[in-house]
């Protein structure tokens, strides 16, 4: 199987949105969810934008920002889309990129565990958008069950140190409310995830 990325876009010079320092977001194609407020909904549907690029070529393309990554503790964030669908390519990328680059993965975690497991080696940090812990709210918003998400979360909690992940709980207009968000946070804490690793925020709908 080719390890080339199916990539939608590269967004440089991001500050304090995808982890520490100055980062570059690499938006990857493909996602199992169907979220109505997906910020990249149009991007995900536009196959004309799709570009296939090898991990080595991607490193070369991103290397222009090496000085920022090195000096600000930044690096590359894979998002999309669901980047864990291209876990093999991400692993290959990590082998060929400078080790000083932090690699973040922005994910919903709604993938089979075998896609996630190879990336639980401490090289990657995870920014997890959990949507909601309540199954009915989750399914209403994404179209899928969240059983796998919760299982994957438990594995991340077991295997990764606290500084390697953050769980984001959004307030989703028309789908959840403050009480739902509070309840999701409690359910995360019951798994063992600590408050400092949980971030609540609000989806801003762009018309």
């Amino acid at each position: 199987m080719s390890k080339d990325f199916a990539m939608l876009a590269i967004n440089r010079h991001r500050m304090q949105t995808d982890g520490k320092g100055i980062t570059t977001l690499v938006a990857l194609a493909g996602c199992p969810l169907s979220c109505p407020y997906c910020i990249n909904q149009d991007l995900l549907k536009d196959t004309k934008l799709l570009e296939y690029i090898s991990p080595t070529d991607l490193v070369e393309r991103l290397a222009i920002d090496h000085c920022y990554f090195l000096y600000t503790g930044g690096g590359v964030t894979f998002g999309g889309g669901e980047p864990l669908l291209q876990a093999e390519s991400i692993l290959e990328f990590a082998k060929v990129c400078p080790k000083e680059w932090n690699i973040n993965i922005e994910t919903s975690l709604n993938v089979p565990f075998k896609q996630l497991e190879p990336l639980l080696n401490g090289r990657f940090s995870f920014i997890i958008d959990i949507k909601a812990m309540q199954p009915e709210i989750y399914k209403g918003y994404t179209g899928l069950e969240n059983t796998q998400v919760i299982d994957n979360l438990r594995e991340i909690y077991k295997r990764l140190p606290k500084d390697k992940y953050v769980v984001k709980v959004p307030f989703i207009p028309e789908y959840s409310d403050e009480e739902c968000v509070r309840s999701s946070v409690e359910m995360l804490e019951e798994i063992g995830i600590e408050k400092e690793n949980i971030l609540t925020f609000e989806y801003v709908i762009v018309h």
Partner: protein, 177 residues
């Protein structure tokens, strides 16, 4: 509401100013003079431009130079027999050690494994090399010159003493891609 062109322009200019400050700090640490000047461009700003890009490239080059100098220093220390450690760890490099030969260390990295390099340079696997790093600029596809020594790339053995080779693509090779 989607951002207007004016708002995007303002945000991009703001981002550019922040990045410029960061570059100035990096340049100060590296001892590089970027010759920064105030941007007088009045048109729509996308957040970056050829001037910004040239500063980034200068900084990346300075970083690469510093890491190579640091690695070379480590090589000198190692081959001077001051350390008998089995592994030579080049600063910022993910070099793989092979065998130990009379106290010297054979390091056989592929270019992709060298951390901190800005460019991923095409390079053959380098075998039987001892020591540090030399940067080579090749002037033709048939010859590479390393500090006065001529090395023929057609031969399977790279007859270099004490250097790991990083090759730069020739214009011909670039054209063949």
């Amino acid at each position: 509401m989607k951002k207007s062109r004016e708002e995007l322009d303002r945000l991009h200019k703001e981002k550019c100013r922040e990045l410029k400050k960061v570059r100035a700090q990096i340049a100060a640490d590296l001892g590089v003079d970027l010759k920064q000047r105030e941007c007088t461009y009045e048109g729509y700003c996308s957040g970056t431009c050829p001037k910004c890009k040239s500063e980034e490239m200068m900084l990346n080059l300075a970083i690469m130079k510093r890491q190579m100098e640091s690695a070379d220093m480590k090589r000198r220390v190692a081959t001077a027999g001051i350390t008998t450690a089995a592994a030579l760890s080049l600063t910022g490099c993910n070099a793989t050690t092979t065998t130990t030969l009379e106290g010297d260390v054979e390091v056989v990295p592929t270019v992709e494994e060298l951390s901190g390099d800005v460019e991923i340079l095409p390079s053959p696997e380098v075998e039987d090399i001892q020591g540090g790093i030399a940067y080579i600029e090749s002037e033709s596809s048939s010859e590479e010159i390393v500090e006065g020594m001529l090395v023929a790339p057609e031969t399977e053995e790279w007859e270099l003493a004490g250097d790991i080779v990083i090759l730069e693509e020739t214009e011909e090779e670039k054209g063949n891609e």
